[in-house]
Amino acid sequence: MFKNIKRYTVIAALGLTAVAATSCESYLDINTDPYASTKVEPKLLFNYATTNWAANRAGGDNYIPIALSAQTIASGGNFGWGKDNVYEISPYSTGNTWKAYYATAGLNLVQAIAEAEKASPANNNAAAQAKIELATMMYEATLIWGDIPFSESWQESISYPKFDAQKSVFEQVIGLLDEAIAQIDETSPLKISEYDLIYNGDLSKWKSFAKSIKFKTYMVMVDKDPSVASKIGQMLNEGGMVSSAAANFTFPFYNTPDKENPRYKILKRYAGGSNIFFFANNNVLSYMKQLEDPRIPVYFDKPAGVSTYNGVDSEEEADATTATISMYLYRPDAPEVVYTYQEQLYLEAEAYARGLGVGQDLNKANELYKKATLQALLFNGIASSTAQDYVDNTLPALTSVAKPVDQIHLMQWIDLMDRPLEAWTQWRRSGSEGNEVPTLTQPEGTPAGGLIRRWVYSPDEATSNANTPSPTPIITQKLWFDL
């Protein structure tokens, strides 16, 4: 009987094995996601990356904490928005911003480059467009955190990318931009056109933008590394950088639900469409008043029944009479601005005023500075006659002020009020510690140790990447370029 049991068991087991083995293979081959694709055109990745990048810049993880902590706008103490002004920047914001640069935007650009270059024929222009954006994003990331992963990022074989020193990051940014510039073939029809919401496939504009970012990078580096001054001079002589407002790098938002500028959406969603959170900061408004800047009513709104534009200091309690950041700047279809012609002109003015790689030439600087200011006013919707009149008659000439370079920096600061990452960078590079333009003071309630000069690393990165610098730099620690 036991033999019978054995026999039947063996037969059953063999039978079951046979059933399992024969039916397995095709039955189990279902591990493909029907709602995903293993191939994709570079333009689709490029558009996803660009949109995520712009949305982060304009949204509550980047715009708000930087604008408030860099003191370009004010939260009105407890009257308005949150605690970013006293440097309580949510790890969520640092995390999401890091995520945008490396994952949602960064990785998709890297994949777009790979898909473009492996296509047959290779879509070199698409690769170049993606490279220029990627370089710009890494330029921004290093200005927030200093040493960051770059050379070892986005490589599947490397799980823990090393952190490159900021100087190296800048050099890699320039290297990547050079690579992209060389890769552009303006005669080729292969490029990202329709899916390029910035320049609609105009490769000459991409090239000029790439050169401008390269130039701007050198301008950030030059105080710490004066050797790049020659590069600045070389670029000024060669030209080819952004040379008209038509070449501004702006990302469009629309006055359509879910396509609006995130700054407007905050107000729409949480404040019935009016600005009750963000106020005029005296660090901008008081200088504009001194300069009788025609942009005041563009930048700020007065509360109803209040006749003057009243600003507040960074942690001062606002009240019902305080001017708010204008609904013009916070309009739904306000574009996210990454680079402008006036920014280029101010930088060029600064280079001539300081003699960076070119002979010091205050007249040339003044000419560029006035041109820049005119462009800045026009950019903000000031009528051309008013703008021209202001530049000609009110704006102090560089030749008549005691510190022309500081005057340029002040105008750069005012121009960049609504672009806080650029404003913060501009302020940090505008002078050695204590000599920045404008002079900022530490808001009450901020931790001891000075003004904010960087963000701490995203906790997600710091805890998962053993290569994160240790001890982790604190927010008051200066970056490499910051003297």
Partner: protein
């Protein structure tokens, strides 16, 4: 049940008789000694042979006794074995007495195999259905709390129909632990798919699917804890299994049973609020601030201010405004069952209903269950059985919890300024003329909670069918072939709406989703069993299993409604559709060899090989074995003692493999529907008319191999003093290696995670089950206490050298659940900076504490758990209560953070208006010096101390002691019911979650879990609904 089983067993023995010498026939009747009732199914064997028979329904038997044999052996589960000499008699009548020495309970183990408890080489805890229906939980999972050692139940919130998580012997994986639920051999879904709302990250708890089971249909629930117990289920039961057997009709008279409860639900714990200060900012009244930082109410009685209605009022506190928001919820649970059976078959039809109204207006849940369990015997060889269950659940008003949604209710209620009259708020949430919301704040940022509950309700509708068909055929007396085919299918519709005029979503929006899940399972099993010789029994089983799951979800978020209240896609100017799918298949073959020697030594060896669809083709096959043994030494050594009645030791070893998540292997690009913007402002694609595609968040891995778990378990069971004391110990050691996880990688790689085999989780633990029967009198009074104790020590091992931590789950503002080498899963976040002596470092200028990020703040799991269940019976009176104790672990409360930072919690009264200097040190160039800087205001202090981002300020010890369950019932004496149509009747009072006897968390019930039942994360809550206390009446009648 036991009898039926044993009849079957004995039939085998009878039929396989080889020695068929027909010398003489002996007959007789077997009865129960205490009742005199006939005992059917008693095995009658001729000693020293394999000749045997079984008693019939009337307890009689006839057996042919071979020549030379003179002794009959009578054996029946639960009774002492009796041997009788025949001598010259032709009639041998026997009365069997109940055997108190042996643990002859039968439990259902893996693949539905029934085994005697004493034969098991591992711990398996059985909970009778009766125990689960004593004070029924609407979610049957909660009914296990405190009742089974090694089992931890974590309720997510007090949300109606909310989810609960089951963890058996600690979390084994970085991806979390989820025990397998099996009903009548069919593995069913216990998923808790997350519920996105149209408003960002705020979440609605839609429950876990095991909550659909009708508790009244459960005959028993067996908790299989270790890998040896669940080895035959393989990967699916890596985290243990809960095996549910449903009730069947018993042979005999047709019976109708009614079980009816009416219950009242109230908030278990409300926050302790201050009633002295109005809303405002730094002592100044301001309607814009919904908080408690305004002026002292008693000091502004000489002035009038505007209230939220714009009326001039003198401020006064409304101490009950939060309490009065809540109402008494009602729960009606009714079940009607018709059952009956005969030799040929049995049936049971069960009709159940659960109707609840919530503790908040406009909340309701209606669940209807229909269950049929019917079996039919076709002659001796063929038996068929089918179970069909239908569940329909509709809910309304499930609250939005956590954060980043305008519809979050808890913060809207708890955040009410103390000067707001709830009645005014209730009557004035909508402007009768304009139809617009009347806001709590003039700047229209604070939603009136009555607006939320009246206008922005969430609805869900679930239909589910599950059941199986079992065919069992015995071609040979010792051979059984059976096939069990089962299907579990559910479809759930979710609908969340936010009406126009809701602050935070002024244009209105809605979200509709349809979720479908299907499990198909087939088990083909061949069983061969017989006695090799009178002392040695062999049972060999082989099986083939096919298991497939298919999950699909479609959702549409629609924003910006044109006409208010019309939730049609065409009425929205923006719609975002999304869909997802997940499918997996598993094919397995297995074998199980069981040996029983003299019924005191048992050995069981199993092996299973699985082929999984989710693994790379080269690695998709994997094998795992188990071995277990039990030794009843009191039987083996024939120990006769007045003290020790029964003693057994057991040991097991098992290895289990498991597969990966579907689609972990391909590099997939997904079309994007949205791009992220903080504060719930995400935009949608196409943007500018253009689509976007995204690379995967998780880097696939083409070389994944199966995850591996090794489990070792030792245990012992004892019974002392005539079963007055039952004691069981189990020690286990489970190591899960090569974990297949989507390992969070630094975002600088471009990815959020990558699939890898990495790391190990070790869980070691001790379980003690003690049952005491201190009093048992002849007058019928009985007191029984069951104490179950579980201690689990978890340790993360084998993380790569480059990885100090592994992020398991993220909360807000830097709060994370992480795995760290050498430690248990822990809560990490922003902590207070301390000097080397441990003093808080305080900012010299502000007087406020300095913080640092990424610090471990404690373990999320408890040190130990204990349940103490007491039952008292006296004649028809039955009383019981269950105390549930948790010791250790930490808990983060976002609700407490809000109550404190907004100055509404009672403790924020302290030091208001006086100087407060926090104890600590200032960091100076000369080192640390004692802090002398006062905080500038208590508003500043609590604003910093309890900021959501300051994790440590909101972390508490998660220990608690709770009175979980109380029941008192009275069964009418049978004689009262004689000559009536009523067979039995019982009245009861029942209560659940009556009292938090001890807790270290202020203001709220520490049993809340923001991460939900589907996540590895726990120990964190953000604005969860308060849990409820339930008290009610119960009536049970049998006709």
């Amino acid at each position: 049940m036991r009898k039926v089983l044993f009849i079957g067993l004995v039939m085998f023995l009878t039929l396989v008789s080889q020695a068929w010498a027909q010398n003489r026939a002996v007959s007789g009747k077997v009865t129960d000694r205490s009742t005199g009732d006939a005992l059917p199914g008693v095995a009658v064997l001729v000693k020293g042979t394999t000749t045997g028979t079984a008693t019939g329904v009337d307890g009689t038997y006839t057996i042919n006794v071979p020549e030379g044999s003179n002794t009959l052996v009578f054996r029946f589960i639960g009774y002492s074995v009796v041997e009788r000499n025949i001598d010259n008699a032709s009639v041998v009548n026997v009365a069997l007495g109940v055997d108190s020495k042996q643990l002859q309970e039968v439990v259902v183990t893996a693949i539905g195999i029934e085994r005697e408890t004493k034969s098991l080489g591992y711990a398996a805890s059985k909970v009778d259905g009766e125990e689960l229906t004593k004070a029924r939980e609407t979610n049957v999972v909660n009914g296990l709390a405190g009742k089974v050692s090694g089992v931890r139940i974590t309720q997510s919130s007090g949300s109606l129909g909310g989810s609960s998580k089951v963890t058996i012997r600690g979390t084994n994986s970085f991806g979390g632990s989820s025990p397998l639920f099996v009903i009548d051999g069919l593995p069913i879904s216990n998923s808790a798919p997350g519920g996105n709302t149209p408003t960002g990250n705020g979440s609605v708890d839609y429950g876990n699917r095991a909550g659909d089971i009708n508790p009244d249909d459960i005959e028993s629930m067996t908790v299989l804890k270790g890998a040896a117990a669940t080895a035959l289920y393989g990967a699916r039961a890596r985290d243990g299994a809960i095996i549910i057997t449903t009730k069947k009709g018993a042979e005999g008279k047709v019976k109708v049973s009614l079980n009816s409860s009416t219950r009242f639900d109230n908030v278990l714990r409300l926050p302790d609020l201050q009633n002295e200060y109005a809303q405002g900012n730094f002592g100044k009244y301001d309607l814009r601030n919904t908080n408690g930082w305004g002026p002292k109410i008693s000091e502004v009685q000489d002035v009038t201010v505007k209230n939220f209605m714009g009326e001039d009022v003198t401020l006064q506190a409304y101490p009950n405004n939060v309490e009065d928001f809540f109402q008494t919820g009602m729960t009606y649970m009714n079940n009607l069952a018709f059952e009956g059976g005969s030799k040929e078959g049995d049936f049971r039809l069960s009709l159940g209903s659960t109707n609840q109204t919530g503790i908040i207006e406009n909340q309701g849940l209606d669940r209807y269950n229909v269950g049929l369990n019917a079996g039919r015997n076709f002659k001796d060889k063929l038996n068929v059985r089918t179970t069909i269950n239908y569940v329909k659940t509709t809910t309304e008003g499930r609250p939005v919890q956590s954060s980043n949604s305008p519809n979050i209710l808890t913060s809207a209620i708890y955040g009410l300024p103390r000067t707001v009259d709830i009645n005014r708020l209730r009557d004035n949430y909508i402007d009768p003329i304009t139809g617009e919301q009347i806001s709590l704040t003039p700047d229209k940022t604070g939603n009136n909670p009555y607006w939320i509950i009246n206008r922005n309700t969430n609805e869900s509708d679930l239909e589910r069918m599950y059941g199986n068909a079992i065919v069992s055929y015995k071609p040979l007396p010792w051979l059984t072939l059976s096939n069990n085919t089962g299907v579990d299918f559910y479809k759930e519709n979710r609908f969340n709406k936010t009406s126009k005029g809701t602050f935070g979503a002024l244009e209105g929006e809605f979200y509709k989703a349809t979720l479908q899940n299907r499990i198909v399972n087939n088990d083909f099993i061949v069983t061969a069993e017989r006695d090799i010789n009178p002392d040695l029994n062999l049972k060999v089983m082989a099986g083939h299993n096919i298991y497939s799951t298919h999950y699909e979800a479609q959702a549409v978020t629609a924003r910006n409604l044109t006409i208010d209240g019309l939730y049609d896609y065409a009425n929205a100017t923006s719609t975002v559709p999304s869909q997802s799918i997940s499918e997996r298949r598993l094919v397995g073959i297995w074998g199980d060899l069981g040996l029983s020697y003299k019924e005191y030594l048992f050995l069981n060896v199993t092996g299973r090989n699985d082929w999984s669809s989710t693994l790379p083709v080269d690695n998709r096959s994997y094998f795992y074995p188990s071995v277990s043994t039990g030794f009843v030494f009191t039987d083996a050594f024939n120990i006769q003692s007045n003290i020790l009645d029964y003693g057994k030791i057991r040991a097991s070893w098992a290895n289990v493999g498991s597969d990966a998540a579907p689609y972990s292997l391909d590099y997939n690009y997904n079309p994007a529907t949205t791009y992220f913007v903080q504060y719930s402002l995400s935009g949608t694609f196409p943007h500018g008319g253009l689509l976007g595609f995204s690379a995967p968040r998780t880097l696939p891995n083409f070389n994944l191999k199966p995850q591996n778990q090794t489990n070792v378990e030792f245990g012992a069971d004892f019974r002392f003093l005539s079963n007055r004391i039952n004691l069981g110990f189990t020690y286990y050691n489970t190591k899960t290696t090569d974990q297949i996880v989507a390992l969070d990688v630094p975002l600088s790689t471009g990815y959020f995670a990558k699939y890898v085999n990495v790391g190990a989780v070790l869980n070691r633990g001790l379980e003690v089950d003690l049952t005491l029967n201190p009093i048992r009198t002849t007058s019928g009074f009985d007191w029984t206490t069951n104490v179950n104790f579980s201690k689990n020590v978890q340790e993360v091992q084998d993380l790569p050298e480059s990885l100090d931590f592994y992020g398991l789950a993220s909360g807000w503002s830097g709060l994370q659940i992480k795995a760290e080498e050498g430690k248990s899963f822990g809560l990490y976040g922003t902590a207070w900076q301390r000097d080397p002596e441990g003093n808080f470092i305080i900012n010299k200028d502000t007087g406020l504490r300095e913080t640092e990020q990424g610090k471990r703040l404690g373990s999320i799991t408890p040190d130990w758990l204990m349940g103490i269940n007491n039952t008292f019976t006296y004649k028809g009176i039955n009383m019981g209560f269950l105390v549930d104790i948790r010791k250790g672990g930490v808990f983060y409360s976002g609700t407490v953070a809000s109550l404190r930072s907004s100055g509404l919690a009672e403790e924020t009264l302290e030091n208001r208006g006086s100087i407060f200097i926090d104890r600590g040190v200032n960091k100076t160039d000369d080192g640390f010096v004692p802090n002398t800087t006062p905080v500038q205001s208590m508003q500043d202090f609590w604003g910093k101390y309890s900021a959501t981002a300051n994790t440590e300020g909101n972390v508490f010890d998660a220990s608690y002691v709770k009175l979980r369950e109380v029941r008192v019932s009275y069964t009418l004496p049978k004689r009262w019911l004689e000559n009536t149509f009523v067979g039995s009747a019982e009245f009861g009072l029942e209560g659940r979650n009556l009292w938090i006897i001890h807790s270290n968390v202020p203001h709220i019930d520490p049993e809340s879990n923001f991460f939900g039942a589907g996540s590895v994360g726990e120990g964190v809550e953000f604005n969860t609904m308060p849990t409820t206390r339930t008290l009610g009446f119960n009536l049970r009648v049998t006709l």
